[in-house]
């Protein structure tokens, strides 16, 4: 690599860092003050892109940028006032779920307004040419971006340190309760911060349009990148976001420059992993202060009564009778329900008792599906063996990723699991030769003796019910109790010799293995798999199922999975904009039942 190409790659990295910084800074600001992780931050970025492309046509690029940024800021303020204000008191997970519902709604709004095709933006007038640097042409617009990032950092710094409003923001970031006690009007402070964060995201998106087309897929990829940056830099630290954006963008640029563009995602992962092991709260982050009087204790997990066990067995019996009464589509739908019930129960296993809030559980579902598919298609193994061995891929993936994840807790953990899932997705998506890339794998059919819908339904019923029973049994074993002990009081657990981290790692791996079983079952029930099976929306499906059912209940995930799978099936078949409908339903449910459905019903019956 020559000196000039090193320089060019370095400059490319700087330019990439600027937009990354804008998004991450907004995410970090919003989290710092409101303690909400804005899953929809990538959606705000995407909106910024679309609005800018749309406004640039009549008004020109330079007008479209501030207009897009302001439009997104106004939208952000509206979201804060109409939605987030109502859920600041709700559990963290439901807040995340609500912002994910926004992702779905914004995506469908964008689809409805601007259509499914990518939209190309204009070049930036005045910066459309190239200058010669070290004997090579370098786009002027990239130079503009290189200057713009530090400019925004400077402006933010001035805003936060030299204005009264900025002082209040910093005070609220450090100690929200104390700021409130001192009479700071939190309501408008929160709205203002959310609007500012949205503005930064919109600005980042708008500035990106001369570089890449606006696409509907950008939201989740941007928010995953921003999560990585924020985790590496330290949550709530603007300076940290800048340093991390630089670091990651540079490393990516050099990977591309050296001809290893496939490596970029793995490298991001390695950087994050190294940082998290050495500095669990990020490069410039601080150990979060424990929240005062933080939420009540988790309710005890009652052991099911003999009657409840009887009812569950009766349910299994009834499910076994279904093929005698009905065939065709009902069986297909029920097979899906069973698969997702196991998936949801495996997620609940780590989320509820262990308190590990995973936002990337689909990674293990997808790895199980691909494990089974690849063993069959590329490995030439018999179907039965592929179905049994495939889930190990999910388990092994969870062993690897889990080792890092259990070192963190709370929102850091959620972000890390999400980032790992995005990485797993990208690897599958990009590795055309092995995984079939975006087309996925086809021809993954069950062995002839299982090929009828009825036979496969029975296999699914047996494996899912067996898996659920094993996981539930484990919850009441010393292992499951020790997980709850670690969640209730890590301090006490440690002081009576419980290796909390080790047990959590084991639980994470076990949950990954069973998610893998669900994935493998899913693959053979569809006959094909695509990267969608480990995408972020699939992870969120699992979260919705668990949270709908109620996280501190035993059977909640079952009902959540059934309801959600049925709803998705019914809505997706009938309505074009089904994502928005699901998003809307989820929002309504979050607003109406902040403790989940089963929790709600239980309290109703207790009252």
């Amino acid at each position: 690599m020559t000196y000039s190409s090193v320089l060019i790659q370095f400059l490319n990295g700087l330019a990439g860092a600027s937009t990354l910084f804008l998004v991450a800074a907004g995410l970090s600001l919003i989290f710092g003050v409101t303690r909400i992780i804005n899953f929809a931050h990538g959606s705000l970025y995407m909106l910024g892109m679309y609005v800018a492309v749309w406004a640039a046509e009549p008004l020109g690029f330079w007008w479209s940028v501030p207009i897009a940024a302001l439009a997104v800021a106004v939208f952000g303020a509206g979201v804060e006032i109409a939605l987030l204000r109502r859920i600041y008191g709700a559990p963290e997970l439901l807040q995340l779920l609500a912002t994910f519902a926004l992702v779905l709604i914004v995506k469908d709004f964008t689809l409805w307004q601007w259509g499914p095709e990518d939209m190309l933006g204009p070049r930036a007038p005045g910066f459309s040419g190239a200058v010669e640097i070290a004997g090579r042409p370098f786009p002027e617009y990239e130079l503009f971006l290189i200057g713009f990032g530090p400019l925004v950092l400077g402006a933010l710094w001035l805003l936060l340190t030299r204005t009264r409003w900025g002082t209040l923001v910093r005070a609220a970031t450090q100690d929200r309760e104390m700021a409130g006690a001192l009479g700071v009007n939190q309501k408008w402070l929160f709205t203002g911060v959310f609007a500012l964060g949205a503005l930064l995201a919109g600005l980042g998106g708008a500035l990106q349009i001369p570089r890449e087309p606006a696409t509907l897929l950008i939201d989740l990829s941007v928010v995953s990148d921003a999560f990585v940056v924020v985790v590496v830099g330290g949550l709530g630290s603007i300076g940290g976001a800048f340093v991390a954006a630089l670091l990651i963008a540079e490393i990516k640029a050099f990977c591309i420059g050296l001809g290893f563009s496939q490596l970029t995602l793995v490298v991001e992962f390695i950087v994050m992993a190294v940082v998290l092991v050495l500095r669990p709260w990020g490069l410039l982050g601080r150990v979060p202060a424990p929240a005062r009087g933080a939420g009540g204790a988790e309710p005890p997990l009652e052991a099911p009564s003999p009657a409840a066990i009887g009812a569950l067995l009766a349910l299994c019996g009834a499910l076994a009778l279904v093929p005698a009464l009905s065939a065709g589509y009902t069986l297909v739908l029920l097979t899906d329900v069973l698969v997702f019930a196991l998936f949801a129960v495996s997620l609940h296993f780590i989320m509820g008792p262990a308190g590990l809030h995973s936002f990337g559980h689909a990674a293990y579902f997808g790895l199980g599906a691909y494990g089974a598919g690849l063993l069959l298609v590329r490995g030439g193994l018999p179907m039965e063996l592929s179905l049994l061995l495939g889930p190990l891929a999910g388990g092994l993936g969870a062993v690897l990723f889990g080792w890092f994840c259990v070192r963190l807790s709370g929102v850091y953990l959620a972000m890390l699991t999400l980032a790992f899932a995005q990485i797993a997705w990208s690897v599958v998506f990009q590795w055309d030769a092995f995984t079939g890339g975006s087309n996925g794998l086809i021809g993954i059919w069950p062995a002839p003796w299982l090929s009828s819908k009825t036979a496969y339904y029975y296999v699914t019923l047996a494996l899912s019910a067996g898996g659920v029973a094993l996981l539930w049994r484990a919850l009441y074993s010393p292992f499951g109790y020790a997980l709850r002990a670690g969640r209730d009081s890590p301090l006490r657990a440690d002081a009576i010799g419980i290796d909390v981290r080790g047990l959590q790692w084991a639980a994470f791996s076990l949950a990954g293995l069973f998610a893998g079983v669900a994935g493998a079952l899913y693959a053979f029930s569809k006959g094909s798999i695509s990267p969608e099976s480990l995408s972020v929306p699939r992870s969120v499906d699992g979260l919705v199922m668990v949270l709908l059912g109620g996280i501190q209940t035993l059977t909640g995930p079952l009902w959540g999975a059934a309801l959600f799978t049925w709803l998705q099936d019914a809505v997706a078949r009938g309505i074009d904009y089904w994502r928005a409908v699901i998003g809307g339903v989820v929002l309504l449910l979050v607003l109406a039942f902040p403790q989940g459905l089963t929790g709600f019903l239980r309290r109703r019956s207790a009252a």
């Binding site: 074993s477 010393p478 002990a485 969640r487 009576i496």
Partner: protein, 247 residues
């Protein structure tokens, strides 16, 4: 017999020397109170002994072996029980289940996936609860207990591993004055009866002087006195620290 020997322990935070050259020992069945005015280094000293902080210099020896560098759970395995200033129990479990957890850990049965946890070591747990007079509340969830009762649950949990040393950080903090002496009397009886060495910090001087066998007084990070309650009461340096030069 010396259970705990602390030798020349020192710890600085930035420029502040929080603990300087502190040494003391505790024998089996002996209760040593660590006291001192606010900022004297009690908590730091306590956390150096229990492994939550690494010392800059010095040695913490338990039954002749160093505890330095061991994680809290490894220190527990060696035979050191703890109670916390703010009680730490498993709030989603019953009183008995809390003790059962400690017993499961004691018997190294935590990795068991198929047995039912609540059926394990029931009698042993109830016997421990009886020792702290909590047997009748065994089935109540920990989340609804009175604070003083939680403290007693912590005692039972600490006893589950048959410790040789018990570390109690402000055992009576947050309790009504009448309850304090009862709790400390209970702890003292249990410790003396089983030959457990006890190190505790405490703000309530009534409790300290009534129940401690020996009192170690810290001031400005240094140990200025170490003796029986009578000796400490008469110590000029202690009187000066607590009462000022008018003493």
């Amino acid at each position: 017999m010396t259970v705990l020997a602390v030798r020349a322990l020192s710890k600085a935070f930035g420029g502040v020397q929080a603990v300087r050259q502190v040494s003391f020992t505790i024998a089996a069945g002996e209760l040593l109170a660590l006291i001192g005015p606010n900022g004297a280094g009690k908590t730091t000293c306590f956390n150096l002994v229990n492994g939550q902080l690494p010392p800059d210099a010095g040695e913490v020896e338990f039954l002749g072996e160093s505890l330095l560098g061991l994680a809290p759970r490894k220190i527990w395995r060696r035979g050191v029980g703890r109670t916390f200033q703010i009680t730490a129990t498993f709030a989603s479990m019953t009183v008995r289940e809390n003790v059962q957890m400690a017993l499961l850990s004691h018997h190294r049965r935590l990795a068991s996936v198929f047995s039912l946890a609540r059926r394990q070591h029931v009698d042993e747990a109830d016997a421990l609860l009886a020792r702290v007079h909590m047997r009748d509340q065994a089935d109540r969830p920990c989340a609804v207990l009175a604070y003083g009762d939680l403290k007693r649950v912590e005692l039972a949990v600490a006893l589950a591993h048959q410790p040789r040393l018990l570390l109690m950080d402000e055992p009576t903090a947050g309790m009504a004055p009448a309850e304090r002496s009862d709790l400390m009397q209970l702890a003292a009886d249990l410790a003396r009866g089983s030959g457990i060495a006890v190190l505790f910090t405490e703000h309530d001087m009534d409790v300290v002087f009534r129940h401690a066998d020996r009192i170690a007084v810290l001031s400005g990070g240094e140990l200025i006195a170490n003796g029986s309650p009578q000796e400490v009461r008469a110590d000029a340096a202690v009187r000066e620290v607590y009462l000022g030069s008018y003493a």
